[in-house]
Symmetry: C2
Subunit: 247 residues, 2 copies
DNA sequence: CGAGCGGTTGAGGCATGTCAAGAGTTGTGG
DNA sequence: CCACAACTCTTGACATGCCTCAACCGCTCG
């Protein structure tokens, strides 16, 4: 059911790092290991939260839907979990989850999860820290949506990912532009125009390649803020294996 | 330091309801009870999170700031807590807190809080539930911002608060319109115009009074959705004394 | 090859913000 | 108690940001 190499990768997540070994094994033996084809809707928003999902390979898009419209809220990459809060509250999923490519997922029954953090204090503390970090991350997103216009959001996205890529002057976009547009709360057409206009502000786009041509100028435009752009994921003492869904 | 009637009100919060009495007393004796005048900035975003705040009387506005702009993220009313996540992660506050009126606040040292959920398993579970609920609440807010236009946000706000007011056909706005505009992500001028235009859709505004003139029509416009409007605060098994900052 | 899809570009329209002015209200000090 | 200042709210005129629709290009994949 579970691949032999699956356990250690999950065990290294902050969420499971500190719990008792017996309890971890307990959770894992109750879990399922599944592979989904690209473009499959694994979760529909509103469904009861039966399983905590862990992305092992591939990537998953989380989308919000309403009145026939939809928008990308996050993209989850290996190795990390998603929809923890719904599992904990035994409440309906707030977002639909859809694979972007062939994706391997480990599913932990929500009921096991809920009983576990009552039995294992170390696990409870880990859940607290994970939820607090996710909460703060979404607050940052909301601030970005309300305080910045679309051009500023695009610019800050490009600069932030350049930093994530190690400060490299050039890197590749990890998602399609239409998905990025939805994530940033704009239309693909508008993103396309905005990207072109940003050439005057120190960043050039060539296909999926992003080239920072004038970092100083771009930084001046973006006005990066740790309380929005959250490169204090480190300041939040979150190491690699970030708990926070990003795109 | 603490008023004699303060303890029981705090004790009734979901967050503190289930913990051991000795531990609760422990937290309370380490706390401060303070009164702030109207319009005072109690917390500036970016400050280190030293205290969990509990609003006992009055009301507090949480605002996000960036590049000289600011917007209202929430209004906290008695009796409820705010900035729990920052305290838990020992990280900077993401929002500025400012009193809207004369306000009484109980402050619990964040360090006591962090040591407490390691000692008291019931408290740890309560923190988990509180954080998960807050997290889901902000996700709903983000969905609303990205999926609805400003007119739809105004209409849904008016309808939701009518329901909160017990389904009454008429109720009073609890905040100034300029604050409401900021909370909904629009300008005061635009809110004013939108409110007037909504008279054609079943809701009339007279000063601070909201009058639902055609609930069916308004509901049809709003298309209420439990996964955004979160009247499943009940479905989230959150009773009265909601943990979630609202306006 | 041709269909489908992502991306780009242009034209036009609607939504929303900005600026300005005035009415009404509240709070304050003389 | 009144006069004034400060503030909210509203309304109008105008500018602009963003979306919609449509066309076209280039790529991928049956």
């Amino acid at each position: 059911m579970m691949r032999p190499d699956t356990d250690p990768q999950i065990r290294h997540l902050h969420l499971f790092r500190d719990m008792a070994q017996a309890n971890f094994v307990n959770l894992m033996t109750a879990s399922y290991d599944q592979i989904f084809p690209p473009g499959l809707e694994m979760i529909r928003q509103g469904d009861p939260a039966d399983f905590l999902h862990i992305v092992m390979e591939g990537s998953v898009e989380l989308v919000g839907q309403w009145a026939g419209r939809e928008c990308t809220m996050a993209v989850v990459r290996p190795v990390s979990t998603f929809i923890l809060a719904a599992c904990i509250r035994d409440a309906p999923y707030l977002m639909t989850a859809r694979t972007l490519e062939r994706t391997r997922i480990v599913l932990i029954p929500a009921s096991d999860l809920r009983s576990m953090f009552r039995r294992d204090p170390e696990f409870a503390v880990a859940v607290i820290n994970e939820l607090a970090a996710c909460y703060r991350s979404v607050v940052r997103t909301a601030k970005s949506l309300k305080l910045r216009n679309s051009r500023e959001r695009v610019a800050s996205y490009l600069l932030r990912h350049s930093i994530i890529a190690g400060g490299a002057p050039s890197y590749m976009l990890g998602v399609e532009k239409r998905l990025l547009a939805s994530y940033l709360g704009m239309t693909p057409e508008n993103l396309s125009r905005t990207l072109k206009s940003l050439e005057a502000d120190g960043v050039k786009i060539d296909g999926a390649r992003v080239i920072i041509t004038d970092r100083t100028r771009l930084t001046a435009l973006v006005k990066p803020d740790a309380l929005i752009d959250g490169l204090d994921a480190a300041a939040d003492s979150i190491g690699p294996g970030l708990p926070v869904p990003q795109v």
